[in-house]
């Protein structure tokens, strides 16, 4: 682990609903422009992130699972030849109720190259997630994140 990015967003929702938004395939498809996550989300289980057409994007192990508060995922890129085998990477999701808002902190620790590829993506995904939960509408596909490029290809 050589580097870390931290993203924080405040969403008007409940921790339970936010947990569902992060882990439920049908939910993630809505705001993540077709991408979906699959797992039983138990500690030690495998998890996968897939493109809309079912191809693998990222896989790994569920390192920690404490619904609806904390989820830690081991993160291996499966689609970019440049990033496969780029060393260990880990994404943590911390959910905290603060007044009427829920604070979501996404911490991604990875090698610089992978971080570069995800760091442009997380803020857009989180903005779309917030918009989808609060207004029922996701944000338009930014078109310049890796996932979108792959989908368009």
């Amino acid at each position: 682990m050589s580097d870390r990015f931290v993203y924080v967003t405040y969403i008007s929702t409940t921790p339970e609903k936010l947990w569902q938004a992060l882990t439920d395939a049908a939910f993630t498809r809505e705001y993540w422009w077709g991408m979906f996550l699959e797992s039983d989300w138990k500690q030690g289980s495998r998890w996968a992130m897939k493109f809309a057409d079912g191809r693998l994007n990222t896989t790994g192990e569920v390192l920690e699972s404490d619904p609806p508060r904390r989820l830690v995922l081991d993160w291996h890129n499966e689609y970019s030849p440049e990033l496969i085998g780029d060393g260990p990477s880990r994404a943590s999701f911390d959910i905290e109720q603060i007044g009427e808002m829920v604070k979501l902190t996404v911490t991604h620790e990875a090698q610089p190259k992978l971080l570069e590829s995800v760091s442009g993506g997380w803020p857009k995904v989180l903005a779309s997630l917030k918009s989808y939960i609060e207004t029922g509408k996701p944000l338009p596909n930014p078109g310049n994140c890796a996932a979108a490029r792959e989908q368009a290809a």
Binding site: R4, V6, Y7, V8, L126, L139, P142
Partner: protein, 107 residues
């Protein structure tokens, strides 16, 4: 967590400088952020508190060290609110032009 707080936080050159420094090197302590800033530790602490209030920086503890991270989420929201939607019209206009030139109807 209002956009007012974000614009207010960005309206100060010292605070923008702190963000630039975190962009160059993320995850710094107060001590390392004070280096090279022509102001007291107390003043830097105050600026950092304002940036944290605006959610432009996130703080994490690593052992005894309090690390400051640049949080680009609010800036992305500003980009989406003030740039993205205008840009999309232009992209759509170009797509329409292309379709018209190629003799296809607008989708």
């Amino acid at each position: 967590m209002s956009m007012d707080a974000v614009f207010k936080a960005l309206a100060d050159p010292a605070r923008r400088r702190l963000l630039d420094r975190l962009y160059a090197k993320n995850g710094q302590t107060l001590g390392s952020l004070c280096d090279g800033m022509a102001m007291s530790r107390q003043a830097v602490t105050k600026h950092l508190a304002l940036l944290e209030e605006a959610n432009l920086i996130a703080v994490q503890w690593q052992g005894r060290e309090k690390l400051h991270f640049l949080n680009p989420v609010p800036i992305n929201e500003i980009a989406e609110r003030w740039i993205g939607k205008y840009e999309r019209h232009r992209v759509q206009a170009l797509a329409d032009l292309k379709n018209r030139l190629e003799g296809k109807d607008s989708p």
